[in-house]
């Protein structure tokens, strides 16, 4: 992409291959580059204005409806296209002295748009043709709760304000926000969270609905009830989670924010919780694990071998490989990792008078975990 400047990037939520990049061409024109194939090829959609485009947003109901904010001779300027960039209309002329830094759309009523700017928060009820100031405070960020579009949040240097009537009236929404200089806001519908990034306090999170999030997961080899996924619950709600291993698998226990093997598990959702059920394939002892010491005498020297043999356990996965360990006191040392078809191992250079104890395990090919050992002692 040959360009002098790109200032903002937007991925269309319903189509990840559709990206918009806003900036200024080498010739100085305001421009939006559009790709429909994830960035391989870009098409320039030049605006009838000079100066840098600083923000781009695309309407959730149509990818052809693109809004671009920029500055021209230092003044904020806003453009709209409804045909994917073929024709552009300037909107909100003489409204913004600074460049609008963020736009938010009402997901239910597509004509309603909010624009955050240093002059305040503006709202349009006619797809951007006219604007009214609905919050007279420098605003850097705006977010709409898509599940309750009358709920609008505005962020700026002095914190977050909340409206429950499409921006007509506002209340401070700063409890716990120790650093109030807000740079960006985003509402995450799946968790019901509002996130705010700040200038000097990192990121803050709030759940306006007051619900906590429980994310349940399971490793392969079993299922859980309720199913793996994201759940929203009021603080203090109790939930029972049951783990059910598939055939030939065992339930090992819970991980994440839970531990132990209680089944069902009862949790109190008093904060965000991540809980995963751990399952493991059942593995069985290799059969007829035997060992003997052999002597190999040549002209120059005598060498001793431990010869170990076994038979696969038909209850195990036929692809299960083996691991062979040598027991040394209370620990064991890995001697060899062997593939599933191998049924004999010869350890060379052993001591004639020493006693050796070996453990052989089948290994889960998926998780690489050891099964229970078969043991043999070679004298």
């Amino acid at each position: 992409m040959q360009t002098t400047q790109i200032n903002a990037l937007f991925v269309y939520p319903r189509n990840p291959s559709l990206l918009f990049a806003a900036g200024r061409t080498g010739g100085g024109a305001m421009v939006v580059y559009v790709t429909t194939n994830g960035g391989t090829n870009w098409l320039a959609k030049t605006l009838p204005a000079s100066g840098p485009a600083l923000a781009v947003a695309v309407h959730p109901s149509s990818e052809l409806s693109i809004y671009v904010a920029g500055t021209k001779d230092g003044d904020g300027i806003l453009y709209r296209t409804t045909d994917g960039g073929g024709t552009w209309t300037q909107i909100g002329a003489k409204v913004f002295t600074g460049c609008p830094s963020a736009l938010a759309f009402d997901p239910i009523s597509p004509f309603r748009i909010y624009a955050a700017s240093s002059d305040g928060l503006y709202r349009s009820e006619d797809s951007g043709a006219t604007w009214t100031c609905c919050l007279e405070a420098a605003t850097a960020a705006v977010a709409v709760d898509p599940t309750a579009p009358s709920h609008v949040y505005a962020g700026g240097w002095s914190g977050v304000s909340k409206s429950t009537d499409f921006g007509r009236s506002w209340t401070d929404y700063n409890q716990g926000l120790t650093v109030k200089a807000v740079n960006a806001l985003e509402f995450v519908p799946s968790t019901g969270s509002l996130l705010a990034s700040t200038q000097g306090g990192g990121i803050f999170q709030i759940r306006p609905g007051g619900l906590n999030v429980l994310i349940l997961g399971a490793t392969s080899g079993g299922t859980i009830e309720p199913k793996a996924g994201l759940y929203k619950r009021a603080p203090g709600t109790q939930m029972a989670i049951t783990a059910a291993p598939d055939s030939n698998h065992s339930f090992l226990g819970w991980s994440g924010d839970a531990s132990g093997t209680a089944n069902p598990l009862t949790v109190t959702v008093n904060r965000d919780l991540f809980i995963r059920a751990e399952f493991l394939r059942n593995l069985f002892v290799p059969l007829e694990f035997k060992g003997r010491k052999e002597e190999n005498r040549s002209l120059l020297f005598v060498e001793y071998f431990n010869v170990l043999t076994w038979r696969p356990n038909p209850a195990n996965d036929s692809a299960a490989p083996y691991r062979l360990y040598l027991v040394e006191g209370t620990t064991q040392r890995l001697v060899a990792s062997l593939s599933s078809g191998v049924l004999e191992y010869r350890e060379r250079g052993v001591d004639k008078d020493k006693t050796y104890t070996y453990r052989l395990v089948a290994v889960d090919p998926e998780t690489n975990q050891d099964g229970p050992p078969a043991t043999v002692t070679v004298k």
Binding site: N7, Y12, A21, G176, A181, E186, I203
Partner: protein, 423 residues
Amino acid sequence: MKRGILISVLTAATVLGPRAAPSKPRLVRADNAAAWISIGPDGGCLRDLAVNPGNPNDLVAVFDSTPSQAYRTTNGGAAWKRIGLFNDTILSIAFGPRGSGRLYALGWSSVYRSGNGGSSWTRLTSPPGFSLLEKLASHPSNPDGLFILGQIGSQTTALALARTTDGGRTWKAKRISPEGNAAESYCLCVHPRNASIIYVSGYYRATSASKFVISRSTNGGESWQDISTGISAKVFDLAVDPNNPSQVYAATEWGVLRSSDAGLTWRSGSTYCYAYGLAIDPANTSVIYAGYQKRIYKSTDGGVSWTAIEGGLAGNCRRMVVTGNAVFFGSRAGVYRSSDAGATWSAAQTGIRAGLVPSFYVAPSSPNVLYANVSDRGFCQSDRFGRTWSLLPYFYSCDDRGRIAAVDPGSPRTLYMIAPGQG
């Protein structure tokens, strides 16, 4: 169901300063009772860092934010706790002398003292006549002794040092530069064993002259001698050998210079070393650490030769500190610690929630995956709504507030970013 009304009091842990809003009860509707919680990432833009002279595991740090935040660790940087929230821009923080239990913090116009480890702060009387307070140092033995470097005057301004021996009840001030129309303080360095010996660096612009300056006092700030002969470069930091007050190091735009005659003559090292912060190992004063951007230099021969060390560090250095146990690199990206004399480094900022985050990106298909664009540090990725964070290997951050990245709606691990050079 109609919800009840509850009364909530807007509080900050400590609200101080002339611009502080008084805490007043506010009516908050119950459905607004949910509170914001910090989810990280850890770190922040460090302004100053200091170690307790009586305990090498006890450090305090202040970070650039509005309000300014102070943090403290008592386990050598393993974990930090916030000890102060100032409605002021804090530029400097210091421990009082060993065993005093005192902490001091300096804002643009105010001096603060805590006698309880930072739980509460008291505003002291500021030195009169100063238009800007910039650097603070505590007296090494008098718990009520303080030195402040700043700018004096209102119509014209000069570099000046104010000193008190009684906790700010009375102040004495002496000009260090001529009166002019601009001045700036860079470093205030009081000898750790003999408080009569003070070195400062700064800049002034007057009708007669305009220059970078290093000055020295041997009588506790009563009179000053310009020792910047031959140097016309900004002096970011100074360090004095605790065993030999005439052995001085200066981190300048010309590299790290050293003087063994109290600044009468200066010499460069045999290897060039550009740095913003300096610290001498008190256990072996020929070992010196110099902090630069994402890199330190170490000298083991008293500043003659320097070896660059990289890896594990981020940001422009703002303060180097050597404790008995570790070396600290405080930078615009956070706090980094080395436990092996500077050889290897890792972040030591758990609990510090002071990041400058111009923008962030939530993965639409997996809302627990979050990317934060952190100034001076880069992109951090979180997997559990901020429970854990990791720095993405590709370093790039953009201070611009524009949305410079986007997460693929179908794939939480695909992040599109505007590449440097095009932004």
